[in-house]
Symmetry: D2
Subunit: 261 residues, 4 copies
């Protein structure tokens, strides 16, 4: 028998029934929140109450950041072209790249590898933190999850840490992340704050998430804001928004004659 | 002074502060759920507890429908091309078109126009329902929000109606939607069930949402599932998934010789 | 036997062989240009030399329009997020909506319907033109394919008309389009120029293309430019380009206290 | 004076004038083909006749590959959702990832680095080829640009090499690519054919293109085919195409009862 073309461990649909990770979805809806169902979809199991609360906060803190985000600007431009709502939102989602939300994955990978190594080598996390900061300084690379172009103290980080304490999901990854932050002034000459990407990375690592699904948090978190901006652009702003021709500085070759042919 | 290029009523970012619809976002996170913040983003005001509960259910019931949805199939194919997570999810979001989630907007528009007209003309909703069903039968058009290719009784509709009753958000739009359903057997010769799109349309209309943001509910609801499928395809399935050449039936012109040139 | 899932009249792939519309693709490549092969893909037949030349021009005139186009701005923002080249290009393609290239379809539909009606009713095209201009003036709707935010005489239109004359593909649709333009001053109080969208619409209609594939010309024409901008943004501009927070004017509710809970 | 927000070396738009890389675009259209203008956009200079011919072939050989490509499958699914033409095409473009067209960049990078190193070290290309094949065998990694799931001899490669010979653009990168191919049987136990991606990579490297724009060739080449498939799906196939529920094999946890709450 040939290998079936489609296989999935996520869910099963039959007439009048939708099974998600073994549960009848309709037995969960109303008892478990959207954030809890997201947890189930991504982890395969239902969250505890504390995990469910943390999950909801993780999806909430990034929900909106105005036009001060390239994904939102992209949504506004695409919406201004006269497309359906979902098409503009889709262009914004495409923008959650390595430099916009992507630090969640990079930072979570780093923290997970380092916490694992520290545990295997029975090395204090403080030592790992020093080693990491030195390494990035030497490589002259950006520390993923640290620094912010607008905020000098990311309000979202503070809120996440507060709830992570309350819900008791804090663990070694968050400890390591804070430890790194505390060393940045010494090593880089200025404090590189633990930003929202880095803090999400730390907490989801403490919750046991694979770093490779890290961007999922950013995607889900930002989608309601993208919808709001697409809607506002489509119905409350002018169509065909574009850089005006005289605002664009041309740096190419001077005007020249086309060759004769 | 020239008109500013960017204006928005949604939010304001300043260093270390994010204002959403007038509120400091960090004063809300932890007190208000992700679903409540979505309500705030889209409506401009915070929901009551009952509205917040309903909102969470509206975002939850469609959270997953396996590969039995073209958007999910698109996500799997694009993920199988070796792209970042968000890129595959973005292709799925692009698929929430007129025939996949789009009935929410069409149905909400119809219900909102008809409830308004009935109220202005002091006409019973039952009369509107009859008139609508006759009109669509005559035009031979699909009733938006009715019928489903897989389900003969949409489990999501039943759950939504149950919670809409509990939270007291039901109103004339839901009444009209149910009234239409009850007439379909008589007029179309078979029961066209009120499907999840139609039921979301009715409830968000009773909650006062503009029909033009209807697809937003579907987009946010489906995004966690799209993320789960992108992740599964990327890390637990084979790369480069495509229809095999011998499964594609070619219906074009028979092989022919290229013209001499 | 069940209906096959996949059917297409476009092409057939077998090991070591690619058939397009009946022809072995490799027998055509080198003899027929990219533009000619595009014609074959969309029409099912190879073009004459004159059609091939016109096709190449149709794909060339819109090839670049700097950042003075919302699709290009979207490409730049998405590229600045740190995504692969194709992902940024994809966001630009998503922007070829009703208000950005979309007039090709609308205008081609109008011209095709009106030329057909004029022919059936043996009515002069001049009469149709007058009737159209009056109708749009009365409906207070934008004439699709006329007017431009930057150009007062669209250089692309002039070039297209010149080549359409040379290649002899001009016909009644182009005549009607020009006739409409000549009436705009009288009816709208200012000359609404036949823009590049409207002119492409006219010429592809004279060439026999279905109006519903009209956007295809714009998509293919613009793609090389989108690639150039994605590349320039990724490798020659700064990452994370976004509207600065102090450039965004907030028009929402004044700052207010979160309710106690 | 603040840094201007938008700068570009690609083009400049003024009322009634479009400058591309210094040339008035309308002075080129009609004299230079679409492929030549693409060359200008990406390289900054006009091609010679031979380069123009090669460019056209490079954009032509991949123009269509039926549904036997995940990008095309994605286009069909998204189109079947009822979206505008460009939205379906956009989802296909998003699919030109690392495993679908992406080998052009990887292979071009490898060839450019190795030819440079061989030249600097005055090492014969044959020696580089051996070293490369050994290295990939040792790393157990896929040689980028070699092997194909359907073709045992890629017809597009043969055509490209033929024209590269005729137009005299062949050089050391193509030599190295062929040299690698000739060694695969010995080192991998079966012939890994130089596929279309690898061959495009070699030729564009010989033409002097930066490997980082390699995917641009695939994107532009495939776009007309994506348009044809979006159009066929929208107007000549059924809406809402999705995997049927009973074709999907569920591999998740067995059905289980929701916990009491």
């Amino acid at each position: 028998m040939p290998e079936p073309f489609w296989k999935t461990a996520i869910s099963k649909v039959e007439p009048n029934k939708i099974i998600v990770r073994g549960y009848n979805l309709m037995d969960l809806v109303g008892k478990y929140s959207y954030a809890s169902l997201t947890y189930l979809l991504w982890r395969g199991e239902l969250p505890t109450d504390a995990q469910a609360k943390m999950m909801d906060i993780l999806l909430s803190v990034c929900i909106e950041h105005s036009l001060n985000a390239p994904s939102v600007d992209a949504v506004r431009f695409v919406a201004s072209c006269g497309v359906p709502l979902q098409s503009a939102v889709s262009a914004g989602v495409a923008g959650f790249g390595d430099w916009h939300g992507g630090a969640i994955e990079e930072a979570a990978r780093l923290l997970q590898e380092e916490v694992k190594a520290a545990s295997e080598n029975k090395r204090p996390l403080r030592t790992s933190a020093e080693e990491i900061v030195k390494r990035y300084k030497q490589k002259k690379e950006k520390l993923p999850g640290y620094g912010h172009p607008t905020h000098t103290s990311d309000p979202r980080t503070r809120k996440l840490l507060e709830i992570a304490g309350e819900t008791n999901v804090r663990g070694p990854h968050t400890e390591l992340a804070e430890s790194i932050e505390s060393l940045t002034t010494e090593f880089f000459g200025r404090r590189l704050i633990l930003n929202v990407d880095g803090c999400i990375a730390a907490i989801i690592s403490d919750m046991g998430f694979d770093w490779r699904i890290g961007k999922g948090f950013f995607i889900v978190s930002r989608t309601p804001g993208l919808v709001a901006h697409a809607y506002e652009q489509l119905y409350y702003d002018k169509p065909y928004k574009a850089a005006r021709w005289n605002e664009v500085v041309y740096t190419g070759p001077a005007e020249r004659k086309a060759p004769d042919r």
